[in-house]
């Protein structure tokens, strides 16, 4: 069924009895061309683009939980392409362009809302750094602008401009940045993939790899039995080390928890996304009106999807420092998600040394915005065995080759990114 305003109108008049389930609940076949391990945002978009752009439809997605229950439903929904390095920025700009056409492309309302992202500037040095970043963004075809103090005062008059420690001098703004309804992204991709013949197996945990006598991966063991595959594509950011250890691999990744917070619903008060990097705080406003905000990772290895109180205090202090009016809002909910923190803060979309096994992960806390391009480039790799031109540097062996993509210039330290 194609969704449209007419369909909504017709169903409204006929008692909403014509809506069908958005995807099937199939039984697994014995063999597929590609088995994707992990039905999160990236896994589902990989399946979608494999089927739609590369004509590979004999595909199955194996998911331990339910669609939309992992990090795709836990992030703070921000999309942007304001990176610096050549290995990153063209990829994120590709992603932002895919976001811009996504809803028409998969015929699903993901509420893509390009209401801008603003990064605050507090010093001359930071202005120089952001001017350089703004230029790098433009070189990749993205939009960017540097706001002076009057400009940011006009856009966000409620900020604490005379903050004693971090007075606001200006901002880097990307107007095409914004927010998206995150779980609708999972549902839209799942529906689009399912329509094209992809089998999505929920509540079907992957428990091991099937290897042939030469060590190549030729399928996966699951809760619903063996599923053989020509290619196995792991896509389980947050649990990458656990899954890849079943193939005997150690990764340049630590798992950390990132907390997120949402206030009670308020009338529209914030124009887009605001980041206060110096104080480790960022905030946007959801379509329901809640202020959605967060800050740093907790900073220790964990797989528990909850954090501890010191970061809660730190985030709330950051909010009060830069946007004192936030103190009038009540905190409604808070939660945590597990991040693959890679050693240089950049992700992996790559082959592995094991034939038949592919890996996508290491998204740190920037995976959501990458969802469309991550799936597109992973599908490209799976279908053609070559990296897409915007993802050539996301290799697993880049540390061995001395070519990290160190966006922050901080070296091998996963808890800094």
């Amino acid at each position: 069924m194609k969704y449209s305003a007419w369909q909504v109108f017709k169903e409204g008049l006929t008692g909403n009895k014509g809506w069908k389930p958005v995807w099937r609940e199939p039984e697994p076949k014995a063999e597929y061309d590609v088995v994707i391990v992990g039905g999160g945002g990236h896994g589902l978009s990989t399946a979608y683009y494999l089927a739609k752009e590369f004509g590979v439809t004999n595909v199955c997605v194996v998911e331990k939980g339910w669609l939309g229950g992992g990090n795709i439903g836990r992030n703070t929904t921000i999309i942007r392409s304001n990176y610096l390095l050549e290995g990153n920025q063209p990829f994120y700009e590709k992603s932002l362009k895919l976001w811009e056409g996504l809803e028409q492309d998969f015929n699903y309302n993901a509420m893509v809302s390009q209401r801008s992202i603003i990064n605050l500037i507090h010093s001359d040095a930071q202005r120089d750094a952001f001017a350089r970043r703004a230029n790098a963004m433009r070189l990749s075809g993205a939009d960017s602008e540097i706001l002076d103090k009057a400009g940011i005062m006009k856009a966000c008059p409620f900020l604490d401009f005379d903050n004693a420690r971090f007075p606001i001098q200006g901002a880097l703004r990307q107007k095409r940045g914004g927010t998206v309804r995150h779980d609708a992204v999972a549902w839209g991709y799942a529906r689009g993939a399912d329509e094209r013949g992809v089998d999505i197996l929920q509540n079907c945990e992957m428990t091991g790899f099937i290897r042939d006598k030469d060590g190549a991966v030729v399928g996966v063991e699951t809760a619903k039995g063996q599923i053989r595959a020509k290619k196995v594509a792991v896509c389980v950011a947050g649990s990458s080390s656990r899954v890849m250890s079943m193939a005997g691999m150690r990764l340049p990744i630590e798992s950390h928890v990132l907390q997120a917070f949402v206030s009670e619903g308020l009338k529209p008060i914030i124009p887009g996304v605001i980041t206060f990097g110096a104080g480790h705080f960022y905030v946007s406003q959801s379509d329901k009106g809640g202020l959605v905000f967060g800050g740093d990772i907790d900073g220790y290895n964990t797989y528990a999807q909850r954090g501890n109180l010191p970061v809660v205090e730190d985030v709330c202090e950051g909010g009060m420092a830069i946007m004192p009016m936030i103190g009038r809002a009540r905190l409604l909910r808070m939660w945590g998600g597990i991040m693959d923190m890679s050693m240089d803060g950049s992700p992996f979309i790559t082959k592995t040394d094991i034939p038949g096994l592919y890996f996508n992960g290491g998204w740190c806390y920037g995976g959501f915005k990458a969802t469309p391009a991550s799936g597109y480039c992973y599908a490209h790799l799976l279908a053609t065995d070559r990296m897409h031109e915007v993802a050539t540097q996301f290799r697993l062996d880049r540390f061995r080759r001395g070519l990290p993509i160190d966006e922050k210039g901080q070296g091998a330290q996963p808890n800094l990114h």
Partner: protein
């Protein structure tokens, strides 16, 4: 989280800086070990789900390094040792 410091008693984890896997004690020998060994030491991690031995630095306290045994699934801490003692037991320090 509360870390039960062997010398100072129970301390708030916020007083500490987290470093990571205890394997970082076992730095390869710069003269005799090869590049692959250094690559694995610097970049690769076991990153287990369950019991994890890890280095914490008491920056806001006595500046000692500790080895904490903690579950990455529940955050429960089952053992705290001075890193000095652990390193000596591994023959890393005199």
């Amino acid at each position: 989280m509360i870390i039960n410091h062997p010398l100072l008693g129970p301390r708030d984890a916020a007083e500490f800086v987290y470093k990571g896997d205890v394997g970082l004690i076992d730095r390869p020998d710069g003269m005799s070990d090869d590049l692959d060994t250094f690559h694995d030491y610097a970049y690769l991690r076991d990153n287990p789900a369950g019991e994890h031995q890890e280095l914490w630095y008491h920056e806001q306290g006595d500046r000692s390094w500790l080895v904490v045994t903690r579950s990455t699934l529940t955050h429960e801490i089952t053992k705290v040792e001075l890193a000095r003692d652990v390193a000596r037991a591994r023959g890393r320090s005199s």
